[in-house]
Symmetry: D2
């Protein structure tokens, strides 16, 4: 399961260089996309259309060097980290997208997924547009450029463009002298606003503000456009907002994507996961000696389970943090090494024990099978699997890379069948009705990947 | 002095894979651009809009590997080698440009320089266009995409687009099922058509046809659009052609840019250089013991001088062919090492001799100074420098990277002053009136960089 | 604090290729050395002296590629991962060391540190030896080569060589048809023997056996030489063993170096850490709301503390696992970013809480200061630091890279002074008398870095 | 045909940094070895045993960067470029070899090939030596280290060691405070001494002195040891010299290996090649329209042929200097592209002409075949091949990489058979009796690869 992007933007009204802040900000958002990274900066007091940027495939610390960073000086800038399924040649698709248009330069970072991108591309093509990438950012940039011809400001152009967009988008846009943060009306993906001295920051998550040493101001509201101007004004355009109860905050951000030290739309990710663990015990209790998480994403729910149940929390797996993202797999016959390369069972922690094992989700089930087997081989008497989300059953149209239905273990299988495949003694998922409780019922959520019900109509889709 | 690009395209009507042919073709055109290289291919019998491409900074043999070539399979494709002055981040500007537009996909390789690119960009911007690069190819692609909406075929769109273009362009364009070669009305840059079995090839020079084992058919005419269709027709649209005597074939292609084993617009580059050498003797004779060229570009003119004068040809400099394009220069105090790293004087060839030294051009004069000094230090009694082109005095607007006037040694200096700086005993340039004789008077040439007279009016320029 | 090496060796008596097994084994030992990695293999049925090897700076997954692994085929081999303080040019020092000598080829992997290497080098020099590296392996190889001249077998030569060695060494040696594991008499560094089908494996830790799918047979005893012969015999030479109570197993292996899923000399690393946590509570109790570890090395001791004290275990820091070993630090003024790049405080977990924070050690104190501050900034009411080892006060001569005394925070400072620097509300270390309890008193340990008392006399050192 | 090495050493008695001089020197010797390059430097006024070095696979400009050069500061140093047939893992074999021994440090660069290396290795092994490389330098270093124990100076140790060496060696050796140049008694490989201000330089060829801006002093004599001491003495030990007429200067250095701007042992390489061309005409005249060389190594002999015969010199092939050493060969069916990628025929120069084509040698004949065919295809009426060396028939034991006899086109074939394979109209080689004339009979030469007669007896070889 992959998130598609993290976005970051900063405008230092005091004129300080922002490239370092973007660099650190992207590092803290790296969990949102590990395929490519990019930074674009500009000098608002310098040449109007001079944007310097660098982007490439790889992690932030792989892409940026002393050398290429030294060319990235400016007091305004945006950054992007991206995940995609395309291969090496998708370097073209790395963000942020930087364009020249009638009013100078725009750089744009996008998190989310448009549901009408194809229609928009076709429509634009019919008026002579050409496309050099396959990313939504290009469509959005086109619309803004076109609307800009009719309006007096870039933020109005963004507003007009947003009326044509469907689907999920959290945007950070740099124009020659303005920094803009905007979010789709449903609020699928998060976007926060912060401040450090006289510098304003937009970021996907609050952890990026903490990293930058900035204070959190507020979340950009779903449907809102926030514009930071050169004279220090923070303009808000809420004309695109819809009723709060129609919004659709992605619940999986809280369950898995976001960093647990982030707070999104007023809800702590940590709290949500603690609750998920507690609910799992309440709804599917079990007698056991210890409770543990699949590192590292299952740990907090495991702590919540432990706290609620009184069953001691333990660590049962060792995670090899030196294994990089990519490594060769020499022996064909040892194909299943994949999981054991990254994990080792703490035999002395599990021997003879009844273990509750918490994971954030089960997608295909292969990893869960291996981990359960590893614990049993290490001497666990029983392994009770608890999953801090409901089963995945439907596609996500809004920025998450869910495999096809046929690859999903829960598709067309009973709970007992899944339990049998995974090899656990018992198995339980988070109940669907618990999802909105994770955010205290304070947010309207999108839970489409679990239930098939999406806040926005998706053309041609029927649950 | 740098050429800006080399272009190549091939369509195998028998369906064979063309990527290898493009690779070899680009190697043979490497002298036309050493900064970046790219290949885009498509399968005319496969998915309509599926173009595979790879491009990066570097020489052809640096950019392409077994791995990335293995992804480039197709029966139609274009390639590009490019020179530019921009830095590492100009990866975005590497060719060929590949776009999606209303009718599918276009890939475009361009050699030359538009003189109205800025106006076209501005005009396009005013209708909502966005630009992601700073290369002319993007402007051309836009125009084609727009014109395509109004016409029934891509070649008609190319024809309409060409009516808006000013300046120099030799184009090779791949549409889903057609390969197109086109040339500006003045014919500044070369473009030839060849055939190998049932595969048609466009290339900047005939040497690329030889490399591919293809036979030369003819040159694309200035102003002509040649279209190779899926059913094997070779369509010619000459509506853009102008009077032959108004054309402006770049004479410096013959003097320096093109490979001596190429024949362009019916004129052998080798012959032109032999003639330049002969003219140098006829117009500026000198008594000497040997005549030699500055390797390697001066060698053929030196042979021509030798043949005409009867003075024996010799080799006086050793060229270190192992020195790459880039190397560090450890000692600041040895800055002048630059030329001696690449060249060594053949003392025993020059000792006590009166040497006629032929170079193709003198730009800033620093290299010439060093070489003359090297020969004198090696014992040459006299060094008579002969230059197989007139002095550079004016800018080129049509695809050659001439330094600013103030850097040109000939600007505001008498012949005697130049001779004195270079340190030669005598110095003579090719006479301007000889330029058209290099091509037997059979072609109308552009000699603007020498005389300031350009075949096409250049906005705001006055000689 | 850095370990210096991990060693691995395997001999498949059935003739299967062992390179993949070594690769995976080294991955599981990566925590013991991250600077360089190497593999040497041989074919016992092929050419006698043909050893294939590859080694380079970097992590295992960085050093080895499909391409260089494809050259490493053999049924016997050794591997090495190494940490060193030297720079890029220390590629020469990467292991394993491969030599040719009178009886063919030897490849040697070494973990530990000789205390008489300089004397041995000098002595060897005086008989004409030359040295190409600065690693102990070279000295050991020389001694073996010399002793081999006097004896009938390589294992006897190893035995004779060991009589001259002082200090710490766990060795895995590959001769043309034997695989040898050996350990210094004190047993400073671990070495285990395992078996998978008909393949015998030596490795620094049992986690490497688990990774390989091999079963644990036993530890190589301190002072013992174990030889696996071509006909499947497992020879043991215990002539170098000393009294068990004189041994000196490095206690820091249990506290920090080794993986918690390993069992060394019969003692589970996990158990030792759980005990350390329990002892910390018993000896230095404190009232608190939660107990947490500094990820990831402090986590198990924290679980032990929690279990013994009844104070709930929690997670208070988020570790950014995407941050690589190296990254640039753009802004000079944000030097202190180092720790926050890798860690984030889970505000909602600590807000208003009294936190017991467990770390495995405090070296210079700078990281501890930052983490305590981060927790306080996140709202922790109190931070009580507990360290699962005594203060570092003395050098290690046996293979651990302890900084100089003046850099150690505990040197010449009272506990209160340290507490004040770190910023914690209370601070306590593991008591020295608890060290041997970590291993149940079943092993004689080396605790020199804490107490200055070493099992083997170190020339010129006085506590 | 490959040379095996180039050597360079410099000692600046004024204390200036020599790393840049070595770098440039190695660039000028790059033609002698293109597989690896290395530099080792030391500070004679600094720490006695501190040698800094860097070496790696690749060309000089590929191996050395600003970064690694910045670590190479010293007033004494040696450099090495190497050719070998081994693969990537031969990084261990790159020169110079740097060792620690009883008297500190030695760095050693070697050009040539020992004929008794195996015996010496065996003998050394029997006294306990270990070997980490397969290069002769290691054997030589061992012998020097051993002899050093018995004598009062490093140069005496070199002298004693040389008594044990058989075969070809030109050595440059750096001890902590001396720079030594030495040459085997036969003088197979060249070595010259030069001076620049107060810095003394040893180099394989004079072109490296020219590059360094140094003046030529003299050649190191065959069998001589020249020592530059810290107080500026130039010591000469000629005890190893033999009668001049027994010497064996490699004649192929003059014909092919050395740069034509070098003078070796008093004989200009340029002159030797001019003579070879003249002899070819005298001994094997032919009527023709033009004479040309296979670029670039055949050019000077072609000039000699032209001068002697009066047949005009011409250029008939274009060499693509942008093609790197390595490039992929996409299409299997275009395997024969190899030569045409690098060369193009100048059709207009050869059309209808009778061409004399001069090459320095024919090894397997495949390249010659392709070139002759290329010229014929380009319209040459006749192609008369003249080779400026006799046919290769025997192995070289002294530092040249000649293929096995069965791969040599001249082995067991008549001249007519070879001519037929190559496809030339006539074919002639340089006569064996002309070889010594190339050096005016002033040097005793080794012509073993042509005649099987070697100046030094080679064990087990019979002509």
């Amino acid at each position: 399961m992959h998130e598609e992007c993290g976005v970051f933007g900063v405008y230092d009204l005091d004129g300080g260089d922002v490239s370092g802040t973007i660099y650190y900000g992207l590092m803290s958002l790296q969990h949102r996309g590990q395929e490519s990274a990019g930074i674009a900066v500009s000098d608002t007091n310098g040449e109007k259309c001079k944007v310097r940027f660098f982007k490439d495939m790889g992690l932030v610390n792989e892409v940026f060097t002393q050398e290429n960073m030294s060319n990235l000086r400016g007091d305004i800038g945006v950054g992007h980290v991206r995940y995609s399924t395309a291969g090496a040649s998708s370097r073209e698709n790395a963000g942020p997208l930087t364009i020249n248009y009638v009013k100078g330069t725009l750089a744009l970072s996008h998190n989310g997924n448009l549901t009408n991108a194809d229609e928009l591309r076709e429509h634009l093509s019919l008026t002579g547009a050409i496309f050099q990438t396959t990313i939504d950012s290009e469509v959005i940039a086109y619309l803004i450029a076109r609307e800009r011809l009719k309006t007096g400001s870039v933020e109005e152009a963004v507003s007009l463009a947003m009326k044509e967009l469907k689907g999920a988008y959290s945007l950070v846009i740099m124009s020659p002298r303005k920094l803009i943060g905007a979010r789709d009306p449903y609020g699928f993906r998060p976007l926060v606003l912060g401040k450090k001295k006289n510098a304003y920051i937009f970021a996907s998550e609050t952890c990026a503000l903490d990293m930058a040493g900035a204070e959190y101001i507020r979340d950009v509201e779903p449907g809102e456009i926030v514009t930071v101007t050169q004279d220090g004004q923070i303009l808000s355009d809420r004309s695109g907002c819809i009723e709060k109860k129609k919004q659709g905050h992605c619940i999986f951000e809280y369950i898995y994507f976001a960093r647990p030290d982030s707070t999104l739309d007023g809800i702590s990710v940590y709290d949500a996961r603690m609750k998920a663990g507690a609910f799992l015990y309440e709804d599917s209790p079990v007698e056991a000696d210890i409770v543990a998480g699949v590192p590292e994403s299952g740990n907090i729910a495991a702590l919540g389970f432990s706290k609620r149940s009184g069953i001691p929390y333990s660590q049962v797996l060792f995670k090899n943090s030196y294994v990089g993202r990519t490594f060769i797999k020499p022996a064909q016959t040892e194909r299943e090494m994949g999981v054991t390369v990254k994990l080792g069972a703490l035999k002395h922690a599990v021997e003879g024990k009844r273990v509750v094992l918490i994971d954030d989700s089960i997608v295909r089930g292969t990893t869960s099978f291996k981990i359960v087997k590893m614990l049993k081989d290490a001497g666990a008497r029983e392994v009770h699997m608890r999953v801090s989300s409901p089963p995945f059953l439907w596609p996500c149209f809004f920025g998450t890379d869910v495999p096809g239905r046929k690859e999903l273990i829960a598709f067309n299988r009973s709970l007992e069948e899944i339990r049998n495949i995974v090899g656990a003694d018992t198995l339980a998922y988070l109940k669907e009705n618990r999802l909105s409780e994770l955010v205290d019922g304070r947010l309207s959520i999108c839970e489409g990947c679990f239930t098939g019900k999406y806040p926005e109509e998706v053309k041609g889709f029927e649950c």
